[in-house]
Symmetry: C2
């Protein structure tokens, strides 16, 4: 069975076990409104790469998906988002209290799924999982703090998205190596691969928000700029701008000008923001590739293909 | 060193490790504004009772305190409480987002502390901890749901406070038995003891809210009634009332009458609510005692003394 189908089946069985209790309804809802299941798929692919037992890895794959969705449920409250995967967020459909408590419950459920990890791997998995989870919270805190700050440097931003996005991707690859009994050096290499692929992925997310390769109906171009979100194109622009241009950018982003995205894009064009962003994405993708290719003795082709597909999305 | 001093020292060392990051400030704040540390003290006492290694149990004791404070941080948001231990709650001093995220972080930190539980006990501890944590969320959900409901039965209420309060007390005793390598039957008995002691404790909390044994300056009598909280005296009153009395109680509790607490107390007196509540507390305390006394071969005196002291508080 393909990774995604396997995850969906496992998830379905898992959700069936829930008692009828108000606490679990928002959880089933969020886990059922879609999602690409990228993280558990990565984990299973990595287990396969290193010759581990894919079936024994399923509860951990599920734990990762449940944990990821817990972060979405709480992040949506904190970011005041009304839509998730095109559907009302949990705090919109129920209320903030439900979203807090069902989110807490999901985190506990993720840990409960870890009980099913084969005992020999548990200490390593718990250690890596907990570290990842704490970094993720630090990333979310930085993300919120950055909104209040007037200036954020590119290295600070990269550190934030590393914590908020990459460490979970890194964990999925690392966990696959642990369950596949790969040695410590290999675990580290595949983790680094995941971290840098995660960075490339998130930077591309920022890029596609302003420079989509195709346009889907209803999709807003430059949503980050409209929300004054300090994503990478904006930070690169400020970094390349002279003081006049800097002032123009800051005036525009804080204005209510209906055409501010177009005007900012025109300004960004003079600063080669698109090309600089593409270069940065490509660089992180390259670094990730180098980490991957330094791993010897395994068939890396499926993972390379996966990474390539991940980066080939159009919006 | 006495239990409380031991906990405070361990907690202090723990808090020192935190990096300087906005995420950890609310955590240090909440853990530093006091608290009786009842739960970790119970755990250490239970470890001692069963001849386990108290020092090896310290990280678990700390995990329990951190976890308990995570629930307080999130419950305070959900209950819209502005004060905790006489100080501003985290969401008041910072904001709701900080309280959500720092609470999440505390839960992860509690799990991270579990990594230090001796490996031989980890599977049993994780299993019991996760179950307890999920029940606690169910209890909080029921507590919130009950506020919206016009009628709540006494058994429903007991089930709710069992989940919200007792299961964590029960876990602390059970964990002590696990770390002391007591056999399964003993683990079960001490857990039952903790559950029923926890019920007696929470029922007494409800009782003292309306019938304090001493009055501290500034302490409101009947706060639960003023907040329309369906605590046990109110539920016992409704249960004993005829339809006229029932109507009178419900009219009063929903009124803005300044003297409604006095009037309700007078009505409750006719229904022997005080005596019925005392009897219920005494019954749960008795049941807990029976579970404890059925444990053979250990010196139960310190735990019996602890339980007696716990129930002897005056408000």
């Amino acid at each position: 069975m393909e990774g995604k189908a396997l995850i969906e089946k496992e998830l379905n069985n898992y959700l069936k076990q829930f008692e009828h209790h108000g606490l679990y309804e928002p959880i089933s809802y969020l886990l059922n409104i879609g999602g690409k299941r990228i993280r558990p798929i990565i984990l299973l692919d990595a287990v396969e790469l290193f010759g581990g037992d894919k079936k024994a890895a399923l509860p951990l794959a599920l734990a990762v998906e449940v944990f990821h969705n817990f972060t979405l449920m709480h992040d949506d409250i904190m970011d005041n988002s009304s839509l998730r995967r095109g559907k009302p967020t949990v705090h919109e459909k129920w209320n903030v209290n439900n979203a807090i408590l069902s989110g807490d419950t999901m985190m506990i459920q993720a840990y409960q799924l870890l009980e099913k990890v084969p005992v020999e791997f548990q200490p390593a998995i718990y250690k890596a999982f907990n570290k990842m989870a704490l970094w993720l919270c630090e990333g979310q805190q930085d993300d919120m703090d950055f909104e209040e700050r007037s200036e954020v440097s590119i290295p600070e931003y990269l550190q934030m998205i590393k914590n908020k996005t990459s460490v979970l991707i890194g964990f999925c690859f690392e966990a696959g190596a642990i369950l596949g009994k790969a040695d410590a050096a290999v675990q580290e290499k595949i983790y680094d691969f995941g971290i840098n692929l995660g960075l490339a992925f998130q930077l591309q997310d920022d890029y596609l928000d302003l420079y989509p390769k195709s346009t889907k109906m209803g999709k807003t171009i430059g949503g980050d700029l409209l929300n004054k979100k300090k994503a990478i194109p904006y930070l690169i622009a400020l970094n390349s701008a002279n003081s006049d241009q800097k002032e123009a950018i800051e005036t525009l982003i804080n204005s209510q000008d209906e055409n501010r995205v177009e005007k900012l894009t025109a300004l960004f064009a003079k600063l080669a923001v698109k090309e600089q962003t593409e270069k940065m994405i490509e660089e992180y993708f390259q670094i990730s590739n180098e980490s991957l290719e330094s791993i010897e003795g395994f068939n890396l082709t499926p993972i390379q293909l996966f990474a390539k597909n991940l980066m080939a999305r159009e919006q």
